[in-house]
């Protein structure tokens, strides 16, 4: 599913955000990426999503060499990946329903399919009763569940989450993690970046620890 070999990301200032990272993530795996702020977690996720290109090394995701993808191939690749942000990134002027269906709308999916799948995924995250609400009317946990629904609505093979519980209290964090576990149980590969080691302990899955861009621990 994911193979990185001696992967490095060097920024113009001469600082390595990621250095010599080699790892493999199998299909259907749930993996945590942890480490302090600035360890390189978000950089790795951005490389996985092909938002940035590696400076050195190789990176293959879903069988594609991300260094050689053309722009149109990047678009196709990203349709197989769902992404969840720490700050939810919901569109304030859209309702819950529109925020989720928006993804399919811009991919040209027929309206009836948009409606059916949006309702299904909202039901799955338990927010089918809030479809007409706007993001500002929702709690933090509800907003993150909408963001997860948006990431899932396109049936991705891989879900990436960058500090998805960073803005939530411990109970809500566990609730969101349970959603990721359920996603993973359906066969989707999940990678969650978090600095919350207690949460990792409670969920109990493989975790890799980064420090100053280097892999320092696999647990």
């Amino acid at each position: 599913m994911i193979e990185s070999y001696h992967l490095s990301k060097l920024y113009k200032r001469g600082v390595y955000a990621l250095r010599d990272l080699s790892l493999t993530v199998d299909k259907g795996e749930f993996m945590f990426l942890t480490g302090p702020s600035g360890a390189g977690k978000s950089t790795f996720l951005r490389l996985l999503l092909r938002e940035e290109l590696p400076s050195e090394g190789d990176l293959k995701v879903l069988g594609r060499d991300l260094k050689t993808l053309r722009p149109s191939q990047v678009q196709t690749f990203r349709r197989s990946v769902g992404f969840v942000f720490q700050d939810f990134r919901l569109i304030p002027r859209f309702t819950v329903f529109e925020n989720v269906s928006f993804v399919m709308r811009v991919l040209g999916v027929p309206v009836t399919t948009q409606q059916r799948k949006t309702f299904q995924v909202l039901k799955w995250v338990g927010l089918q009763h809030r479809i007409h609400a706007f993001p500002e009317e929702l709690s933090g946990g509800e907003q993150q569940r909408i963001a997860i629904a948006r990431a899932l609505v396109n049936d991705p093979q891989l879900v990436l989450a960058d500090e998805p519980t960073g803005n939530l209290d411990p109970d809500l964090s566990l609730e969101i993690m349970n959603l990721f576990r359920e996603i993973n149980a359906r066969g989707t590969t999940v990678i969650v970046a978090t600095h919350d080691r207690e949460l990792i302990r409670r969920v109990g899955r493989r975790s890799i620890t980064l420090e100053q861009g280097r892999l320092v621990e696999v647990a």
């Binding site: 999503l49 938002e51 722009p71 990047v74 678009q75 196709t76 690749f77 990203r78 349709r79 992404f83 990134r89 569109i91 928006f102 993804v103 709308r105 811009v106 991919l107 040209g108 948006r150 396109n154």
Partner: protein, 292 residues
């Protein structure tokens, strides 16, 4: 896709209608100026054509011209491509016409004794030839012929008028082009503002792999709509200004300068302005969208 781009563009324009009005107003002003110059130059060209068509070459004959000499002059005229027709005006006809035109001076002519006016050939010229250099050559040849006393042709003022029209048209096009570039830049900046306001949406669209056309399409469409609306507004304003001026001044002006009517822009030019406005808007939208 087009429907999506159109809906999003309309929604975006409505959300930021103040800046949208600024861009639409800018392009309306640019195309109003361009359209006004086009009206003026098109009517001046028509005026030049009508005057050119009415322009005559007068070949004055000597009193002692022989029939053979007159025939030779007539043949020279008939063989020249610039000549549309000719009419012989005898000395008697010339006197009669003078007395009709200048009734007050009729008595003065009688005191001179005899008929002082020469016979002439009044030559009508083809419209395009009227201001052309070929007439100079014809005039020179005619002056050399026997029985010809003089050749009169008012080419110089016609040529001056036509070069004046070209100058006005050039100035109008230059001004219009400058204003149009300014309008395109305004649209690009207004669309860019829309782009910044929607950067979260755009980022999500890029992350989910939305096609570029879906990402940039609404911004290009926004430019096209603003350009088209600006052009339509310019044509409406031009029409209103033209109707007002026509009611007050243009009818009298048309009579005064001996042109049939002063006309508004043709349908083709109006369509051209709208399409041009949309194209300018499209360029502005593309310029802004290319940085998304």
């Amino acid at each position: 896709m087009l429907r999506y781009a159109f809906d999003e563009a309309l929604a975006s324009l409505w959300r930021r209608r103040q800046s949208g009005l600024l861009a639409t107003g800018t392009i309306a002003i640019a195309l109003f100026v361009l359209g006004a110059f086009l009206i003026v130059t098109a009517n001046l060209e028509r005026l030049g054509d009508e005057w050119g068509r009415a322009a005559e070459l007068s070949v004055y004959l000597s009193d002692d011209v022989t029939p053979d000499q007159r025939h030779a002059v007539e043949v020279a005229l008939d063989q020249d491509g610039s000549v549309a027709g000719r009419e012989f005006l005898s000395k008697a006809d010339a006197l009669r016409r003078f007395k009709q035109t200048f009734a007050d001076l009729a008595a003065a002519v009688d005191t001179v004794g005899g008929n002082p006016l020469p016979a002439s050939l009044e030559v009508r010229l083809r419209p395009r030839a009227a201001a052309g250099p070929g007439i100079e050559g014809l005039s020179a040849r005619l002056r050399q012929m026997g029985g010809v006393a003089d050749v009169r042709y008012d080419r110089q003022w016609l040529a001056r008028m036509l070069s004046g029209i070209r100058l006005i048209r050039g100035a109008g096009l230059a001004l219009g082009a400058m204003l149009t570039i300014a309008a395109a830049l305004t649209i690009a900046n207004v669309v860019r503002l829309a782009l910044v306001a929607r950067r979260d949406e755009l980022e999500i669209m890029q992350l989910v792999g939305a096609p570029s056309a879906y990402i940039r399409g609404p911004f290009v469409m926004e430019g096209v709509i603003q350009g088209g609306m600006g052009a339509a507004l310019a044509i409406l304003a031009l029409g209103a200004a033209f109707a007002t001026l026509q009611a007050r001044y243009l009818g009298a002006l048309a009579d005064a300068v001996n042109v049939s009517t002063v006309q508004f822009l043709s349908v083709e030019v109006c369509v051209g302005l709208v399409v041009g406005g949309m194209a300018v808007g499209c360029l502005g939208g593309l310029a802004a969208g290319s940085r998304s």
